[in-house]
Amino acid sequence: MGKYLLRRILQMIPVVIGSTLLIYALVFLLPGDPVVAIFKGKPAQPQVIAQIKADYNLDKPFLIQYLLFLKNALTFNFGKTFSGQLVSDVIGRAFPNTVKLALMAFVFEAIFGVVFGVLSGMNKGRWYDSVILVLSLLLISVPTFVTGFLLQYVFGVQLAILPVTASADPGFIDLLMPAMVLGSVSMASIIRLTRSEISANKYMDYVRTARAKGMSNRSVTMRHIIRNSMITVVTYLGADIGALMGGAMVTERIFNINGIGNVTYQAIVRGEAPLVVSVVTLMVLIFVICNLLVDLLYVVLDPRIRYE
């Protein structure tokens, strides 16, 4: 197990290097000169431009730029944005909001996804199973910006019970609607996953054996049907945490939340390679760590799995 863990952690190194290199290259290849773009088309003195380029290492070849970034990043120096702020400060301000949003979305999708999925799976063919199934399909097929704008309009504008956009330092109420929008697609997937797992596990031989032991329907459902169905569902949920953080870009734009997604969007527009790459590195790390945790969780949930 210890060996396995070490191997997994070492595996993270090439993943992080590879992904940052890729992102760096993509930003480097973006059309247009970012420094020229700073001046918004106004003429600028060549010396000034050259100075800025030197400050941000933009005059050096691509690989050198990347290696310099990597070297600084190792010492937790992520550089400055074009507006002179420390990248670490920008991320530090935005990151907690994204985490809050992602966690709220996570709780939302986990609770409602599992509850509706179990309800649906245990009562396959009943009318509410059909309703849940149709609604979940609808949520999966409609993109988040549609559900986002729809909820914003209904609950924010028409009914005015929830804020339309988030404040600079968003609280629970601010993030309630965004979290629901962000979690809705995954929730629908979890409903479907739980439903199919439950309805498959319902007919397992060991479930019949449990009933034959004289166990009540309630404990059979809890201990043998739901417990076994949760193996795949929890795995899915774990992997989804990373996806929620990365996928918050659209939601954050719609509700104007000062989160990582918004920051990334701005940085891409401005072609600020250090900022984009820093954010992406962070995301990649979160993703990889989440996946590792899920794999470890898997061992706890399913004793059949043993890592060598």
Binding site: Y206, R208, K213
Partner: protein
Amino acid sequence: MSAKHNDGFDPRRNVTIHKDAVAPDWDADTNDNIPTEDLAPLLEVTDLSVDFTGEKGRAIHAVDKASFTVYPGQWVAIVGESGSGKSTSAMSVLGLLPGTGHVTGGSIKFNEQELVGMGEKDYERLRGRYIGLVPQDPMSNLNPVWRIGTQIEESLKANHMDVAREKRNALSKSLQEADVKVRRTDDELFIGSQDIDDLVRTTQEALASSHIENAQGKMRKLRHEWVVGSETRWAVAQSLIREGLDEETAWKIAKNHVTGSSMKDRVAGLLDEAGLPDAATRARQYPGEFSGGMRQRALIAMGLASRPDLLIADEPTSALDVTVQKKILDHLQEMTDTLGTAVLFITHDLGLAAERAQYIVVMYRGHVVESGPSLEVLQHPQHPYTQRLVKAAPSLASQRMISAYEEGAQDADAGLAHKQKAADAIANGQAVIEVQHLVKKFKLPHQKEMFRAVDDVSFSVKKGMTLAIVGESGSGKSTVANMVLHLLKQDSGKILYNGVDTSTFNSKDLLNFRRHVQPVFQNPYGSLDPMYSIYRSIEEPLRIHKIGTKESRLKRVKELLDMVELPESVMNRHPGELSGGQRQRIAIARAMALDPDVIIADEAVSALDVLVQDEVLRLLNDLQAQRGLSYLFITHDLAVVRQIADEVVVMEHGKMVEHGTTDEIFEHPEKDYTRELLDAIPGGKLSLGVDL
């Protein structure tokens, strides 16, 4: 037992003979459980009909007016092939019919209480505590995510057999009722793990001070008997009295030192009773760490945990090796005898049923066609189906099948003629497949040493003869088959095909070899592609080897279907639409497509019902007589070996234990292991149907 009165459900309320009225000392007195004429039946099923709702609401009658009775303490077997309704009947007793199954008529009386139409809550109280279940497949009947011990604990808890709680209940009861017997509460106290050391020490001292002869030997015996969580205070006292202590001292020791066990101890005790060694450690393991036999023991412990009056054993050992089967059934029989549990034993094997049960019920297509005392049914079968079953039962067959196609088969002593021929062939015949000093090693996780799955095995398959390799699972017999088939490479040793070393084959030789040596595998459900039509499955080998034109291939497929006695119309169907026996015929047809010399049958008939198995064996035998095929038959079932093989190789732990002609092996087995295998054939010692 106080909990059972508290839950408001008592199926025994109308019964005159009240087992609970006597002290429920399960371990000692079985006298009141021996079935007698004047005893009320425990389970009485009358005219039971069960329907399943098929496609478009069509009713499928799975059980039609079936009746049978089980008396307390009796073993009753329901025998029949798959689909005969035997399991369905048993499951309707438990109220656990699968899917759309429902009882449409008749009555099921358990201790004179009607079960048909009973509510789910009442069933929950009935299950486990009054009627237990040992299910069929040990692999799928334990939840892989819970520890074995936890799953047994569940059955104790579900039926309020929680030892601690029981003690409390009994105490509160004794405060209310003055005439409560002390022995009842004593009986619910098991030796706890904290008790055992003191108990042993005190007993040792007591034995020493009362100057009893052979105190050490007696102590050893007691130490062996006293299993934590399994022996009751009463039983401890009794055993002490038996060993010569006076009653007063014995009870004093028992009362002072058997103070009740924890749930964990009880679970370990139950597992120990079911014959699982080192039970306390085992209870903490997961099903994945158990072998099939161990799992079945855990399931038995589970089924008997709450001491039911009736145990439904649904083919409890058909997934296991014969030797394991024998051990487990012996143990189950011993346990149910001491506990006085009645058993409804579901099996497809008539020999096994006759050997174990006092009473047999034969079911065929949902009907009970015959029932009566075991030997009566076996020796004087009345119904044609039972007669066929008796004839086909491999465990009851006593000699090799002789094909009608064989020369001189119509003679009275065809068997003798075949034996003569076989002896000749074995002595002087030409070897088609020859295996010399075959070795195969596998790397096991966490172990430095290589595991020798096959260790120095040599034999030869003679032309037109059948050689069977027998052994339990894990003996390496299938590994040998895979190496002979060139699907696995041996580590050392040689395999010769018609005198040529197969390891020297280039790809063209190999293709040619594959054409002439064809496999038939165990699972007819897995070895046919479900997406392929039957035609495509049989035609595939012809296509691969580029034989004939489209038209000639069609003709060949028709011929092959005719050969395996299936109508041409199955060509357009898919495996899912055929029965197990039909699929195995298709698999044989496919193997025969290329006119092979050798067929390697790896447990080819093990998954089939007795009658179907008999048909398939006859088919294989006829094909051999007609075409001079050689068979390498891999099986765990010695009964099958006797029917089809001329020569036998017995394997154990990868080694060849014994090698000889079938007659030699069956009549004069030299090794203990072979004798053990022979003993394990169910019903092996029962005499055949006399009326046939």
